[in-house]
């Protein structure tokens, strides 16, 4: 290897790693801020979940049938605090206002003469109705609504039907999962890797790009603007060597920034796991194959991002202009990451042909341990092609005087 390439890489890395401000913003702050934000969010979410577990749901029931209160007490013990009201005129409006003000969590309105109409069940038009109101602004109200409409009221209906048939068991018809205490066939590890697979690719993709963006812009557009690039180009070093040196060092810095950010997530996972579906690090194991695939995929993704950022920075005559060129690409990276995280695209090989999006798909496949050689090789080929093309463009721009001098 050309020793001068190493000199350029060393100089670029020294530029970043001996600048306390850059070390702070590129390497420490991403991990620290993510750790802090996710810990706080995780604790808040965990606290909210435990509060929900202990919350007593306040319901106002209009025209409640005589046995409903007993049924609810027997069914849920003290989880519901019932206030019964007789008429449904002004009182209903007052109840709904209380629901809007979040002083109650739900309002049930039974039809007038509900019990009587139940008794006349043989008349086809006698089926009474229950209206359930909730306030979507309140989490407690949302919980109460789901609980009432999917569990409490259907079970209450089943109990009434049982009475009609003379035996509650007759109305049950069949049970679901009565003896099946563990219906999930997926291992905890698989569940954890599914959650990781939906989260990590977007994190890695965004962190990698964000880590490379500011430094990459400064490395070329900034150096052009300051006049330091031309000073290097006056030495008998091939321009390709200068370009390659900058690419390698930017990739290293971007990887460092990404590792810092991921470390921030992983270190605080015990505190933030409620944000990630209760994921437990103990359930996660990564095989050697996955590590190898991950390493290769990261290098390729870093290559694509670094060549993209440096090519755009090379065209720009100032840091500001470079920022304007790179920001739309950052948007593409964000959208690609989100689409892959939401599960789009993994079912067609052609999607692996799309640069950036395909790279994120491969990362997702690696984390859920479903990577296929076809998907991986297809995307690797495309990534290499993109890197090569951008390198050629970059090399060409590097030789064009009008792009070499900023200002």
């Amino acid at each position: 290897m050309d020793k001068r390439l190493l000199s350029i890489v060393r100089k670029e890395l020294r530029r970043v790693f001996t600048d306390r401000r850059l070390v702070m913003t590129v390497l420490i702050l991403p991990g620290l801020s993510i750790a802090l934000i996710y810990s706080v969010m995780g604790m808040i979410t965990g606290d909210m979940n435990s509060q929900r577990d202990l919350h007593t749901y306040r319901l106002v029931v209009h025209e409640a049938p005589g046995n409903f209160s007993d049924y609810l007490e027997g069914r849920c013990e003290d989880r519901f605090l019932l206030t019964e009201k007789e008429d449904s005129g002004d009182a209903l409006e007052a109840s709904l206002e209380a629901l809007r003000a979040e002083t109650v969590d739900g309002v049930l309105v039974f039809d007038e003469g509900f019990e009587k109409r139940l008794e006349d069940f043989k008349r086809a038009d006698s089926n009474p109705n229950v209206n359930v109101f909730y306030n979507p602004v309140s989490d407690y109200s949302g919980d109460a609504y789901r609980w009432l409409t999917t569990e409490i009221l259907p079970e209450y209906r089943e109990a009434i039907l049982g009475e009609r048939l003379g035996n509650p068991a007759y109305a049950r018809v069949f049970t679901v999962n009565q003896d099946n205490l563990n219906p999930s066939v997926a291992s905890e590890e698989k569940i954890s890797s599914m959650i990781l697979g939906s989260l990590m690719p977007i994190f890695i993709s965004i962190f990698l790009f964000a880590g490379a963006m500011n430094i990459g812009i400064d490395m070329l557009a900034g150096e052009k603007e300051r006049g330091t690039l031309a000073t290097i180009l006056l030495t008998p070093v091939k321009r390709e060597t200068v370009a390659l040196g900058k690419m390698i060092s930017l990739a290293i810095v971007a990887m460092g920034s990404t590792i810092s950010s991921l470390a921030g997530i992983l270190v605080t996972l015990p505190l933030s796991s409620s944000l990630f579906g209760g994921i437990d690090m103990a359930d996660i194991s990564v095989s050697l194959d996955q590590w190898l695939f991950l390493g290769a995929a990261l290098v390729l993704l870093a290559g694509v991002y670094v060549t993209l950022i440096l090519s755009l920075s090379m065209i720009a005559s100032s840091v500001k202009e470079a920022g304007a060129y790179v920001t739309p690409v950052y948007m593409v990276v964000l959208v690609s990451g989100m689409m892959a995280a939401m599960g789009f695209g993994g079912d067609h090989l052609r999607n692996y042909l799309i640069p950036v999006f395909g790279n994120v798909l491969v990362l997702r496949d690696i984390f859920v341990d479903e990577v296929t050689w076809w998907g991986f090789l297809t995307n690797s080929g495309v990534s290499l092609l993109v890197i090569l093309m951008l390198l050629l463009v970059f090399r060409r721009i590097f030789k064009m005087e009008r792009y070499l001098y900023g200002g």
């Binding site: 001068r4 330091t228 009008r402």
Partner: protein
């Protein structure tokens, strides 16, 4: 150096220039702002390619043998800057490595230049703490690190205080004694008069006259370089250039 014509974007910056600088000679390129001095020097230093004609340094074509030219040449201009984050010591080491000098050669040359330019006491300070004059002296040290055969300085004393300017001119004269080929661009008449063996006057992209100071004064019938310059400036339509 042969005739060249240059285009920068759609502007023809320089045309019909033909001059030669010999070893042991200081050649001054004199001209107003925008005359094409910097473009000419950038072509000589390989930072730009002439769109027509050829530029040769030590018999080497600046386009086809750019790297070899850069091994032999030193180019200093105000547009070229050093990374302010680093110290002079690291900067010299880095540029020495790029020029494939041995660590011993870098150290030796660095000591000589730092001593001559009085940088030694500041060699470990970041450049961002330096004054303009100090930065210029360090830029000169970096450009001369590899002991080049050809020295091209664009406005070397521009913006410098009297003491720093004197240090630079003394250094140029010392290099002339060492038989270096020196090309200096300037718009300061006193620098051209006091320093240069031959002077080329560039107006609106054309080399309108060249020769010794005596030759220029005699040809223009004037008594000072400033008078000669203004006479040529009027004669060759500099106002419209």
């Amino acid at each position: 150096m042969k005739k060249k014509a240059l285009h920068k974007r759609t502007v023809e910056a320089v045309r019909g220039i033909d001059f030669e600088v010999k070893p042991g000679e200081i050649y001054g390129l004199l001209g107003p702002n925008g005359a094409g001095k910097t473009t000419t020097l950038r072509c000589i230093s390989t930072l730009m390619r002439p769109t027509a004609g050829t530029v040769e340094v030590g018999g080497l074509n600046t386009v086809s043998a750019g790297e070899r030219v850069r091994e032999r040449i030193s180019f200093l201009t105000n547009d070229l800057k050093l990374d302010e984050h680093f110290s002079p010591d690291f900067t010299m080491k880095f540029f020495g490595e790029l020029r494939q000098m041995s660590p011993k050669a870098i150290e030796e040359r660095k000591d000589v230049l730092f001593e001559a330019l009085r940088i030694t006491g500041f060699k470990n300070q970041p450049i961002k703490e330096f004054s303009t004059g100090m930065r210029q002296k360090l830029a000169i040290a970096v450009s001369l690190l590899h002991d080049p055969e050809v020295v091209v300085f664009d406005e070397p004393t521009n913006g410098l205080d009297v003491i720093t300017a004197r240090t630079v001119t003394e250094l140029l004269l010392a290099m002339k004694q060492d038989k270096k080929t020196i090309l200096v661009s300037t718009h300061e008449m006193s620098v051209a008069e006091g320093l240069c063996d031959r002077i080329g006057i560039l107006i609106s992209g054309s080399l309108v006259m060249e020769g010794t100071l005596e030759h220029i004064l005699k040809t223009t019938g004037t008594r000072s370089l400033a008078d000669a310059f203004f006479w040529l400036y009027k004669e060759y339509g500099g106002e419209n250039g």
